[in-house]
Amino acid sequence: MYTLQKPSFRLKSPAAIFLIVALSVFISEASVMLLLYYLPERSLISEAIVDATLLVALISPALYFFLFRPLALHIRERERIEDVLHKNEEEQFKVMIRTSLDAFLITDLQGRILEVNDAYCSLTGYSREELLKMNAAELEATESAEETASDIGKLLETGSIRFEARKRRKDGHIQIVEVSSNYSNLNGGRIYSFLRDITERKQAEEHRDSLMREIESANEELKNFAYVASHDLKAPLRAIGSLADWISTDYADKFDDEGRAHMRLLISRVHRMDGLIDGILLYSRVGRVKETRVAVDLNRLVADVIDSLAPPAGITVTIDNPLPSIMTEPTRIQQVFQNLLSNAIKYMDKPEGKIRINCCAEGRQWKFSITDNGPGIKQQHFEKIFQLFQTLAPRDRVESSGVGLALVKKIVEMYGGHVWVESALGEGSTFFFTLPRTTATLIQTEGTQA
């Protein structure tokens, strides 16, 4: 029995030992993992554990073997991996800085240059070795030391700033740079800055601004020129008109029929020239004289225009659909309808004249049209009729200044619209123009409320 029992005990015991060892290894590994999991990265505790390992080995070999040794190994491994990752990150960062087209610079809070990239060297014209001995303030072209200090103060407050600055290159050239700086409190405070040379962009901007000023002043001069010139032309014209009138009155008995006809022509030409000058004045006034924009109910305005034009009995003017209310200068929009409608009436060649006004919304615009069944216009004249002083009929047949459509075009385009004509010779013409709807819609709702 005894001999029988012993082997059974012996048989049992390796399994038990195995079980105990496995269990302790499992418990120790689990506790190591648990400890590692809750241990903060690179904490004092992990350092203390590593330091205490040897001491623990002396006091309690079991504790050393099962807990402290694996724990210390794990901690060291983790630190090694972190170091590698960190070095990788640093390497990546260095490559990024080297690759950057923008100049890069690290300084301390006193402005001493600690690191630069190649782009910074070529921006400033100094070598890296020279720069590392310099203070960033030495490169400032216009900024004083106080201003630099205040910039740094601002940076410390907000953490990052962006500004424009003028830097002096080694060769003395001044360049304009755009700077983006960030502050970090690592190693007693560091300022990281990216700089971009914007000298060319700035010069282009300045050039553009000066061109704009020139254009504006030329434009201003042109506007005034038309006004002053037409004004000064009127005085002598009036004198000619008056003198011609007096001559034909005072010496009526001394003129024969031909002389009287000539005097009539003279006076009628004075009137025509007066009309032309008025046209220039009218045309130059658009855009020069600004009215306040108000909500205009086009239904009422167009009705008033038709009324004032008093179309002859044979001509009917109809409005196809209700017109919108738009935000505009009343005089200008009135001129648009007045000119388009008076043309349709003036040139009507059919005994039964039909003029129709239509409006529809098209995308972000209102599209207006004025259709007549008059003589029509040849396609080759579609562009020409919108030019100043261009008329298609001789002025002796239809008295016209040639300003109307040019005025319409100028007004419509000033409002961001577009004007054009479609026509078939003998059948009639349709003049279209568009006006932006953006403000118009808003005004329309206001209109219904009121």
Binding site: A235, R238, G241, S242, W246, H271
Partner: protein
């Protein structure tokens, strides 16, 4: 005009325009003497001379050399002895700005000179009719 013995002061530099006004006044049988001066400065000199007869009305052109119509109005309307004399602007300018400036300076009327002489006569006739009816301070 209410007082046919008081002169009409015409401040105008254009010779034909002066002839036009003279002829129109004659045509509508206005008998007041006409004093013509060719700019604002001359007109002020005349008005401030104690020997010259005070006009019943001033017909004022705006566009003149040396001192233009608006400049003349600015001085005249600050002068206690002159500011009540009615001034009718007679000009080519139909500019809103000129009209505003003129009325800001208290003009009694603003007439655009028509190119047509016949119309001009009508303008002068209307001015005369109005200032024949209207009372003016002595």
């Amino acid at each position: 005009m209410k007082n046919s013995d008081k002169p009409i002061l015409l401040v105008e530099d254009d010779l034909v325009d002066v002839m036009t006004v003279k002829r129109a006044l004659k045509e509508i049988k206005v008998t007041n003497p006409l004093v013509n001066l060719e700019n604002g400065e001359e007109a002020l000199k005349y008005l401030r001379n104690p020997d010259s007869a005070k006009p019943c009305i001033i017909l004022l052109d705006l566009n003149m050399p040396i001192m233009n119509g608006i400049e003349f109005l600015k001085v005249m309307k600050l002068d206690a002895l002159l500011k009540r004399i009615p001034v009718v602007v007679l000009t080519t300018s139909e500019e809103e700005q000129d009209k505003m400036n003129s009325f800001d300076l208290g003009v009694a009327g603003y007439m655009a000179k028509p190119v047509d002489y016949r119309q001009f006569v009508e303008v002068v006739r209307t001015i005369d009719a109005y200032w024949t009816i209207s009372e003016v301070p002595q």
